[in-house]
C-alpha cells in the first residue's frame, strides 16, 4: 500500500474527494454526458451528420490526449465546447465543396423538443447557413448553447465587443432574409423583430 492510500485511512474525506475527482474526470463519463453538445454544435454548423460525427471523434480524441490537464467537469465542458467550435469551423473550411454537394441529402435528426413550426425552423436554419462562418458560430453558441457574450468571446478567441456587433449584425441579416422568404411564400406571413 502506498503512502497516499495509507493517508486515506486516516483522512476519509480526502479519499472521497479523490474518488469524486476521478469519477468527474472519467473519460467515458465525459463522452456520454457531452456527446449531445459536441455533436449538436458540429451538426448545426456543418448540417451534415457524418461530418459532425467525424468532428466529434476528433474533439473527444483531443480531450483524451489532454485529460491530465483538465481540472474539473466544468472545465472539460467549456474546453469541449471551444474545441468543437474551432474544429467545426476548420472542417467547414477544408471540406466546403464536399459539404455543399452533400447538403441536398440533408435530413433533420430527432430533437427532444421538436419545433411547433418545422417549416419555419427549416427556413431559419437555411438563413443561418448563409451567414459568414464566424458569425454563424456566434449565433449558434448564443441560441443553441445559450452562452453569455463573454463565454462566446472566450470560446472563439475574439473580443466581447466583436461578439456583440456580430450578433447584432447577424440578427439584422436574419430578419431581412426571413422577411424576404416569408414574402415569397404565401402561407407564412408576419413581421419579425
Amino acid at each position: 500500500m502506498n503512502a497516499c492510500n495509507a493517508s486515506h485511512e486516516y483522512y476519509p474525506a480526502a479519499a472521497a474527494a479523490e474518488a469524486t475527482m476521478t469519477a468527474t474526470l472519467d473519460f467515458e463519463y465525459l463522452v456520454r454526458t457531452s456527446q449531445r453538445m459536441v455533436f449538436s454544435i458540429a451538426y448545426r454548423y456543418l448540417r451534415d451528420a457524418a461530418a459532425a460525427e467525424e468532428v466529434a471523434q476528433d474533439v473527444f480524441w483531443e480531450l483524451h490526449k489532454r485529460l491530465g490537464t483538465v481540472e474539473s467537469n466544468e472545465h472539460a465542458v467549456f474546453w469541449l465546447r471551444r474545441v468543437a467550435c474551432h474544429r467545426s469551423i476548420d472542417y467547414a473550411r477544408r471540406h466546403a465543396a464536399e459539404l455543399r454537394a452533400r447538403s441536398d441529402a440533408f435530413t433533420e435528426p430527432a430533437q427532444s423538443d421538436p419545433p411547433a413550426d418545422p417549416l419555419l425552423s427549416k427556413r431559419l436554419r437555411e438563413a443561418v447557413a448563409t451567414l459568414p462562418k464566424k458569425m454563424r458560430m456566434v449565433v449558434l453558441l448564443r441560441f443553441q448553447q445559450e452562452a453569455k457574450l463573454e463565454e462566446i468571446a472566450e470560446a472563439l478567441g475574439i473580443p466581447v465587443n466583436t461578439v456583440k456587433s456580430q450578433l447584432h449584425r447577424a440578427l439584422a441579416m436574419l430578419r431581412e432574409k426571413m422577411q424576404f422568404m416569408l414574402e415569397e411564400s404565401s402561407g407564412m406571413g408576419g413581421t419579425w423583430r
Binding site: 466529434a56 431559419l124 443561418v128 413581421t191
Partner: protein, 115 residues
Amino acid sequence: MKHIEEELKRALAEVEPPEGLAGRVLARVAERERGRRARAGWLGLAAAPGWRWAFAAVLCVALVAGGIFYQRARTRAEGERAKEQLMLALEITASKLQIAQATVQGINSGAEAEQ
C-alpha cells in the same frame, strides 16, 4: 409579430446524437491509443534511464571503433600511395639504366670496329 430570437432557439436546438456514437468514440479512442503507445514504445525504451546508459555506451564504442577503422584505412591508403611512388621511381631508374647500357654497348662496338 414573430420574435426571431425565440425562433432561433427552437430552430438551432440541440439534436440527439446518432445511436452508438459514444461507443464508437470510445472504440476509436482505444484504437488510436494503442497505435500511439506502439509508436511511442521504441522511443520510450530508448528514453528509459537504464537504457540511456547502454545506448550511450554503445554509441561510444561505435565512435571509437569508427575512429580506429578510419585511422587504419588512412594509414593503408598512405602506404599504397608510397608503394606506387617507389614502383614508379624504380621503373624510371630501370629505363635510365637501360639507356645508359645501350649507349655504353654502342661505344664499345664502335671502338672494336675501328680496331
